[in-house]
Subunit: 147 residues, 2 copies
């Protein structure tokens, strides 16, 4: 597996160890990880700290020039909110661990000029399949569905 | 002015008093304000706490049934990120104070079934015009543009 996607998956596992939803993300600029994040809905009782949002927040106030060279990695296909954050900051490239267990608005994001690559990595799929099977209500809450 | 939009504008003014970017938001359910928020980029050195995001975060972990009856007010047209958050949670209605100084992806949000109403209130326009004129770099940073 790509080392950066591996780092995002490590974040997902860290979230799981904390009792959270196992989705992780890293932001890469000039071939270096500048920020890491994971879903913190449960840990911080947060409605907005999806993995990618947490990662972008950990990165702090970057410049447009920084974002223009960045790649956002996520273990799971970014939802409407996280996709929108990437569009706001004009992140040019997103690497998605998998979109089998959930698929965000990838076609729309691509139509806005973003290079979206979906890996469908077996480990990324497996960690979400296990979580969704054991915590369906939490998962539905996280994606805005009735629990 | 609509009392709820007035409350959002009060939040924008509170942000300005704190030295922040003057954009405010409230979330209304069953004709009551359940959360208030304002842009906290400067106050919290945050890349994700736009007014609407701050408001949704202050609202906490709501159910899909809660969101389905909600109206999101913002003094300014929601950007890609904030629009995406509203789409994630299937907020059915957004009231926008103004879209003269900035316009988010309103057509896309409408195409996803959201009722978007733009008031173009003179006070909402004025507070942003003054801020943008005096702090152009901060404003550009907030919407992902080069400073």
């Amino acid at each position: 597996m790509d080392l950066f996607l591996r780092a995002a998956l490590d974040e997902a596992r860290l979230g799981l160890e904390e009792g959270g939803i196992p989705i992780g993300s890293v932001l890469v600029i000039d071939n270096e990880i500048v920020a890491r994040g994971h879903n913190r809905r449960i840990q911080k009782s947060s409605a907005i700290l999806h993995a990618e949002m947490d990662c972008l927040e950990q990165a702090g106030r970057l410049t447009a020039a920084d974002y223009s060279r960045s790649i956002l990695y996520s273990t799971l296909s970014p939802c409407d909110m996280c996709s929108g954050a990437a569009l706001l900051y004009q992140v040019p490239k997103i690497i998605v661990g998998e979109n089998r267990t959930f698929q965000g608005p990838e076609a729309y994001v691509k139509s806005r000029g973003v290079d979206v690559t979906v890996v469908n990595d077996p480990e990324c799929i497996a960690i979400m399949e296990r979580f969704i099977a054991t915590h369906p209500a939490l998962w539905n809450e996280d994606i805005g569905l009735p629990t």
